[in-house]
């Protein structure tokens, strides 16, 4: 079974600071970590390999330092890792990111299953997983909390929906995004960490994955972020006093005055 895990390097959440002048994320000196939800995706991939044999390939798009996240992934049991990194990839929204990742996945064909975390903790969009699946024209299931059955060509998963759990059967190759209930990610082994340091991690450019620079990065992104700002909260409270009847009447007339019906 060949499993591909898509991961993202994000800033360590406990250290996120916003520059109040520029309203941008302060990235200098902030440690990068594997997006926490992606660690569950990786753990699940490694467990599948340990149970059924096969390989786990980890793919990430990001600046050169995202290599650290891929090294961590190898330390945690991934067999191979690929980094998509090039100036042309920079400034990508979820669509441009998904195009780049999908192109990389095509280059890694054939595969059985792609696993992603349910979302990244910095962007919080939860879009990249499903978009990659659509671009590859394969089925996907989101918010998976358990893989019940897995065999070549077929997987049965439990997916979290609001207030319930859905059991879904999907043909493979396919993609799932996972939630943290699925497992407890391991701590790497010392031998794993040493192996990861020596591991060769190829860096792929748009040309390497055969995709036009027009479709990736800032140029390939239909989303434009005009402004990021810290909202100014201006709440004013007012306490109505009097007997319950008086207060209720005062509130009603106030609401009517505001046009609430």
């Amino acid at each position: 079974m060949k499993v591909i895990v898509l991961i993202k390097q994000v800033p360590e959440t406990t250290e996120v600071r916003i520059n109040p002048e520029t309203n941008t994320l302060v990235r200098e000196g902030v440690k990068g970590i594997i997006n926490p939800f992606d660690t569950y995706a990786l753990e699940e991939g490694v467990r599948i390999k340990e149970r059924l044999g096969g390989t786990v390939v980890v793919v990430s798009m990001g600046p050169p330092q995202a290599r650290e996240a891929l090294q961590d992934a190898i330390a945690l049991g991934a067999d191979e890792a690929v980094l998509l990194s090039d100036r042309a990839f920079a400034g990508a929204d979820t669509l441009a990111t998904s195009r780049a990742l999908a192109a990389a996945v095509r280059k890694l064909e054939p595969y059985d299953l792609i696993i992603c975390g349910k979302q990244a903790i910095d962007g919080d969009t939860a879009q990249v997983g499903p978009e990659v699946a659509e671009l590859l024209d394969i089925p996907h299931v989101t918010y998976v909390r358990r893989i019940r059955e897995l065999e070549p060509g077929r997987v049965v998963v439990e997916r979290m929906v609001e207030g319930a759990v859905e059991t879904v059967e999907m043909s493979l190759p396919g993609l799932i995004t996972v939630v943290k209930d699925i497992n407890q990610p391991r701590i790497p082994s010392l031998k794993g960490i040493m192996k990861a340091r020596r591991a060769a991690i190829p860096v792929w450019t748009p040309a390497d994955v055969g995709i036009s620079e027009e479709l990736v990065g800032l140029r390939g992104s239909p989303t434009v972020v005009e402004k990021v700002f810290v909202p100014q909260v201006e709440r004013r409270g007012e306490i109505l006093e009097g007997s319950p009847r008086e207060v209720a009447e005062a509130l009603l007339s106030r609401l009517e005055a505001l046009g609430v019906r």
Binding site: I187, S189, L190, K191, G192, I193
Partner: protein
């Protein structure tokens, strides 16, 4: 303080710290309360390769020495000194085999320990032979191609939990300590049984039991080293392992300081955090200074041993003596800084105070350590004439 660790040493320290903080700390209080040996030993230390830190690469370990082991023990002890005891006792248990065992014994017994699949325990102490280890009475009688062991070992750390027991027993009782030999006995051997689990003041996550030999018949190939070497093997084992107790004490003391410091910053009395009172601030300053001195001595001793020094009994005893006395004092002060809360079991420092006491007692009481140091002083001065 910058101790100029190698990349590999930093890696071991970081990983041990992660395991300690993410896995051990959340369950430490519960293990203590329930006096429960952690079922997760293999997951914590086997799957992460930490069990193999002090084991040579040719037997499946990482090839680290005493310093690397001390770094791991210190970090584990920061979270739970009881778990650190179980971890370190495992290393102590295979030490006789590493020091004096045959190639076959090393391959057979050390390898699974390095992988965390098996646990080891070292059996020397008896009811009448504590500080006076030469007074042991357990015997090993030769019968053809076998030895038959009889006797009771007391206060054996990892007793009952371990799969491999290294045992010091008399093959020639008339010769006293010179008639002692070392054996390796596997759990499940007929005639090997376990007495009651001791109820302890501290380090309650570790298992301490009697290990009983009743006509326990083992093949002669289970002899470690040669007949009559047992006592020397035991002393060499303890000399190598003592810095580990020092590291356990340093980790414990650091844990107590960190918790006391955090508490002193947050606890407000008379309208101010109590750390702003010099009485408290100076206590913290003294705690930190003593800990750093103990740490430096433990690391220096470990480095001396790893560099191949022949004679290190004195330094090893000093590291254990000094660090354990520091741990006791620091833990007591941490409880004092917490005040009434420090006395409550809902807060973490009373456990550390209970845990600290044993570091002054086991693997040679601190009085015995002083004997060792004084003997060496005498010997050195006599040599100089």
């Amino acid at each position: 303080m910058e101790y100029f660790f190698t990349e590999e040493q930093k890696m071991i320290k970081d990983l041990a710290r992660r395991v300690a903080r993410e896995r051990i700390l959340p369950v430490a209080a519960e293990l203590d309360e329930r006096e429960e040996f952690p079922a997760q030993m293999r997951e914590w230390f086997g799957e992460t390769d930490l069990m193999g830190v002090g084991i040579p690469e040719e037997y499946g370990g990482l090839g680290g020495g005493v310093l690397e082991t001390c770094l791991a023990v210190e970090e584990i002890s920061w979270a739970c000194p009881g778990v650190a005891t179980a971890y370190a006792a495992n290393w102590l248990g295979i030490m006789p085999i590493l020091l004096a065992g045959s190639e076959e014994q090393k391959q057979k017994y050390v390898r699974p320990v390095a992988r965390g699949e098996k646990l080891a325990a070292f059996c020397l102490t008896e009811a009448e032979a504590g500080s006076d280890a030469g007074a042991i009475r357990t015997t090993a009688r030769r019968e053809g191609d076998f030895y038959v062991l009889d006797g009771t070992k007391q206060w054996i750390t990892n007793g009952g939990e371990a799969d491999i027991y290294t045992v010091i027993a008399l093959t020639a009782p008339e010769k006293g300590p010179r008639g002692a030999s070392c054996f390796v006995v596997e759990k499940g051997t007929p005639g090997l049984s376990f007495g009651r689990k001791e109820k302890k003041m501290g380090i309650r996550a570790s298992a301490t039991r009697e290990v009983v030999f009743t006509g326990c018949r083992i093949p002669a190939s289970q002899l470690v080293g040669r007949e009559g070497q047992g006592f020397a093997i035991a002393m060499r084992t303890l000399d190598r392992a003592r810095p580990g107790v020092g590291a356990q004490a340093v980790g414990l003391a650091q844990g107590a300081l960190d918790r006391a410091l955090a508490y002193a910053r947050q606890r407000v009395q008379f309208g101010k955090p109590i750390i702003s009172f010099q009485a408290i601030a100076h206590m913290l300053a003294d705690m930190a200074t003593q800990i750093e001195a103990a740490r430096a001595l433990v690391y220096a001793t470990a480095r001396t041993i790893d560099a191949g020094a022949k004679d290190f009994a004195k330094e090893s005893a000093m590291a254990k003596l000094f660090a354990s006395d520091v741990a006791m004092r620091v833990a007591i002060d941490a409880v004092q800084i917490f005040g009434g809360y420090g006395y409550m079991r809902d807060y973490p420092v009373e456990k550390l105070m209970r845990d600290a006491k044993i570091t002054q007692i086991y693997e040679g009481t601190n009085q015995i350590q002083r004997n060792v140091i004084a003997q060496e002083l005498l010997r050195e001065s006599a040599r100089k004439g």
